[in-house]
Symmetry: C2
Subunit: 493 residues, 2 copies
């Protein structure tokens, strides 16, 4: 890492001070600049980067706002000890014992109850979601793209759409997939009604009701609902917040139960853990499943929300035999209101195309054309860069406030991207209790009981980081921390 930070990212549309801030932040994160170190003076910054006084000041104030620096009167700026450093990471799961046997999923009642309870407090600040606020998405540009498309081709509204999806959209998706290490043709892309339909179709293609499907534990409750609705059994595999699904536990499960039809994984920014599987583990997972005749369903809707210098690859990049069905969507990264998902189904391509046609036909055409137009340009890259930057800031500030306001024993692993934090409550405090008290205080969170068919994560909560940090959000987090302490005291008594 070059601490002189003269190399700004080439295609960046960010103001100069933010480009410089990113470089200094990296220097702090990788330890080149350490807590207590003195920041170069404003005059030195002006000389070193050939920038104006105003830019140098903006740089320092921005890093201060973000909590990286603190100003000491008459001495200048110093690197601050990050509050969240006080929080230990979430406990890693044990990997040396076989997971619980597969079970039919009975999560719907739990999830419905949580959602219904939440809806009774419509005014509550919603920290239960995993979607960013609308201001983080290119609303105007997308609107203009849709308007342009419909003005040019209004009969798109009154003509049946293209089978398997709009050709231009499929082309852009295939081209963008190169960034994830996936080489596929536009013809391999099947457009779906959101990522969730893709996962449904993938499961229906490779497994039947009653079959066992291995999933990460904890996992996205939506996946558990899909398994429940399809009458499939879930085998929960311990999953690490740092390295993803445990290959050791998966191998043990294969050896112990031996009837696993498929495994569903979110290798990049796993929901709710935020784990990104290292390349080596991705390669090993792909090989393990191929060797054992287990189909892999990769759900990859969050990848573009990473904040790494080298973009994480899709698991599909290691697919050598068409054994991996790749599913993704634009729901989190571009437009939460557009139901645009897609998949590439490997050796199940024909079967998935048949199931998709029978299930819901093609998607509406103009959404695809509008998205394709936007995604074909560098405006999409600039949007993603901004989104990542905002989310990073929001995750870090929320983590800092959690560190400052939650009682000791609280644990949290800060992920390298995404819009959520997974928080372990101290003393095994049941998160449904906190969920209910928080709702009454006007705050909605997602209790850990939604993320597993077992009770293993009942003392976790997921906090959404999609909202810009604000005094209201700050107060809500502090209130959550105080409630946790209060409930913990009550429980201890």
């Amino acid at each position: 890492m070059d601490t002189t930070a003269t190399a700004a990212p080439p295609a960046s549309a960010q103001p100069l001070y933010r480009q410089l801030a990113a470089a200094y932040r990296d220097a702090i994160e990788d330890g080149t600049l350490r807590p207590g170190d003195r920041m170069p003076s404003v005059r030195m910054l002006m000389q070193r980067h050939t920038v104006s006084l105003s830019t140098a000041l903006q740089l320092c104030r921005h890093l201060e706002d973000e909590g990286w620096l603190e100003a000491r009167p008459r001495s200048g700026y110093f690197v601050r000890r990050r509050l969240r450093a006080r929080l230990p990471g979430v406990v890693e799961p044990a990997q040396d014992q076989a997971p619980d046997p597969a079970a039919f999923v009975g999560i719907h009642a739990t999830v419905s109850a949580v959602i219904a309870q939440g809806q009774r407090y419509p005014a509550a600040l919603n920290l239960g979601g995993a979607t960013a606020a609308p201001e983080h998405y290119p609303t105007e540009a997308l609107k203009n793209a849709v308007l342009r498309c419909l003005r040019q081709s209004p009969t798109l509204l009154t003509t049946p759409g293209s089978p398997n999806g709009n050709p231009e959209f499929r082309k852009v998706i295939a081209r963008r997939a190169l960034d994830a290490g996936i080489r596929m043709t536009a013809e391999e892309v099947i457009v779906t009604h959101g990522g969730i339909e893709a996962v449904n179709l993938a499961l229906r293609a490779v497994a039947n009701p009653g079959d066992t499907v291995a999933v990460e534990s904890p996992t996205f409750f939506g996946l558990l609902q899909v398994l429940e609705s399809l009458g499939m059994r879930a085998l929960e595999i311990p999953t690490s917040p740092s390295s993803g699904i445990s290959l050791e536990a998966l191998e043990l499960a294969i050896a112990t139960y031996g009837n696993i039809k498929a495994v569903v994984v979110v290798p990049n920014l796993q929901n709710p853990l935020g784990a990104i599987m290292p390349d080596g583990r991705k390669a090993a997972l792909a090989a393990l499943c191929e060797r054992n005749g287990i189909a892999v369903i990769e759900d990859d809707p969050y990848r573009d929300m990473h904040c790494r210098t080298t973009p994480p690859k899709a698991l599909k990049a290691w697919d050598r035999s068409g054994n991996i069905i790749y599913c993704a969507s634009l729901n989190k990264t571009l437009a939460p209101g557009m139901r645009l998902g897609w998949m590439a189904a490997g050796r199940w391509q024909a079967r998935v195309a048949m199931l998709k046609f029978a299930q819901s036909r093609h998607n509406e055409e103009w959404s695809q054309i509008a998205a394709a137009g936007f995604m074909a340009t560098s405006a999409y890259d600039r949007h993603l860069q901004r989104l990542r930057e905002h989310l990073r800031e929001q995750r870090e500030r929320i983590a800092d406030t959690v560190a400052a306001s939650f009682p000791p024993g609280t644990r949290l692993s800060l992920p390298d991207g995404g819009a959520m934090l997974w928080v372990e409550l101290p003393g095994g405090l049941p998160s449904r209790l906190l969920f209910e008290h928080a709702l009454q205080a006007g705050i909605r969170i997602a209790p850990g009981s939604m993320f597993s068919n077992s009770q293993r994560f009942d003392h976790f909560i997921r906090i959404g980081c999609g909202h810009p940090y604000s005094p209201e959000l700050d107060a809500a987090l502090r209130r959550l921390g105080a409630l946790t302490a209060q409930l913990l005291d009550g429980a201890g008594r």
Copy 2:
């Protein structure tokens, strides 16, 4: 019927001469004016209806164009013998023997082959579809509704949509359902990605893989594909072009096989027959299924394309116990490019809502808002009236040309609405043969083999009537007739 035809439809936006033409056509159809009868002279028409010479002339010429009148030199206009009267109706199915046992469906290969073959001739005139041409839909009005909606609320693109559908759209759907005799609240409406998703969800709610589902025979190939994709067995019940599914055969099947989980019916303008079940039979079907604990799935996407004075009612109007799941869409009646379907699931409401959420989440919001805005006004009624009028004309002219150009022994039942004709070829001529020869001649039709899991309808074709009648269409139909005669000769040799 008042043959003086002074009472024009009140809310009509049609030119006067067309309103008058409709009344005279009714008089011919109900026999008040008979073939060979002399039409009132132009002068008499002017006096009787207080119209201009030009309107009276337009009236006569329009009826002549449509084939209702013929001009005899120096004698005026006479009611013409309709050509299609020469065609006998499709043979009614036998009802006194138990249907074939239920079987797993293997239609996908057939349908795919037909579709793939068709796609190899992209320039062919497509008479294989059941959708009307774009010019029959209110493209401009819908476009403006979408533009207005997105200009007003662009964040619809970047905010998750409403669960179960947009409230305004659900309200309009519930209000419009009154016209079909259905009383339901907006909360009962679940919006789906097209009618086909509704049928999928309904089947998944009431039956499991391996279960037997009774269907009409012949039936829409899309339904057979859904059953195949869900691993359910189809029990084909003989269905009459005049009165719909045979209750006698259904009762016999219940008595013989006794394991029927559900019956799927299209009671209004059945695809491909065009049958509208009489009220009495609808009531009897609802009662029969309720008595026998068989769930009813009503697929009703064509109802608004009827051309009857009294709108046909939905089967759901006779539902007393929540035993009927009602499915419909706007795909055929308003906007083939918008994937807007909906359902009301009776006693399976909660299960269907769960399945819909797990399968594909909510629909895109702006399509629903735009459709709701249009459907809330009388513009929608005017559109439907025009659509019905155009389709009636197209059906009749196509039927006339079929009657004039196909060899003797050809049969056809003219339905009271919709955009398709079901034609029985003479001499058991295999329709796949005609399909293939027609493709080479640049004409696409739907062969009867797509509409049943059996071979029973292999000598039928479905002709789409969605295109405005044109010299090109006329020539195509005559060519089809000539090809049929030719192939019949070849087969006879």
